[in-house]
């Protein structure tokens, strides 16, 4: 990623197009599941969503291999798509908006408390 790409996010657009092209050739039920995975992972994105790219790549990779095996998407992921996404995002150590807000809040509270106690 060079400076231009970093500022414009043009590399992300390109990567995103590549994901879509890969998802387009999957069987229908896989494509629908891919849509759900993207939706569930979205809240784990950072400001640009850059941190999601490797996670999405590995999820798509799993779908591709499983589809090539001729398994149904239900056999592969079961009922709990959301749980799968949480595990994926957690596994990759993705940090979210929410984490940072929480941290900020904790810091502020700790500061206030120490002032009170001090």
């Amino acid at each position: 990623m060079n400076f231009w790409e970093k500022v414009t996010g043009s590399d992300l657009t390109r990567e995103w197009k590549a994901f879509e092209a890969r998802a387009d050739v999957l069987p229908d039920d896989y494509r629908a599941t891919w849509g759900q995975i993207v939706a569930h992972l979205f809240p784990y994105g950072d400001f640009t969503g850059r941190n999601l790219m490797p996670i999405l790549d590995s999820a798509l990779g799993l779908l591709e291999v499983a589809a090539a095996d001729g398994q149904s998407v239900h056999e592969v992921l079961g009922e709990d798509i959301q749980g799968f996404c949480t595990a994926l995002a957690g596994g990759a150590g993705a940090r979210t908006y929410r984490d940072r807000w929480r941290e900020q809040l904790n810091r502020n509270v700790a500061r206030k408390l120490s002032r009170l106690g001090g």
Binding site: V65, D69, L77, G78, F84, L88, A92
Partner: protein, 108 residues
């Protein structure tokens, strides 16, 4: 047996380590092996997230191999850290299962 998933959660990682430890293998095969053992509820997605975690924690060695059809598969083998982790898992399991058995028998 049904509804084992919750109880299995904490130990599944050790089970996957054990399976990888006996031979180099890939996600789908690991899932099938667990299913055949009687853990029917385990799906590939679950195993896959465990494999990613093992990889991130540096416990496995990953090799990509062509799969005949479709994209290449990731094959997993234990490295030294993985073998150490597996030994720890069995020690903990031994401890846990012996205590629970004792509890069930009414002893202390």
């Amino acid at each position: 047996m049904e509804d084992l998933t919750e109880m299995l959660k904490g130990t599944l990682e050790g089970c996957v380590l054990e399976i990888i430890g006996s031979e180099e293998t890939y996600g789908y095969a690991i899932t099938r092996q667990l299913n055949e053992l009687g853990f029917a509820d385990v799906v590939e997605g679950t195993v896959y997230t465990i494999l990613l975690r093992l990889e991130r924690n540096g416990l496995v060695q990953v090799t990509k191999r062509p799969s005949g059809v479709g994209p290449p598969r990731k094959f997993y083998a234990l490295n030294d850290a993985g073998r150490e982790e597996l030994a720890k898992f069995w020690a903990k399991w031994q401890y846990l299962s012996s205590r629970i058995d004792r509890l069930k028998e009414g002893g202390r």
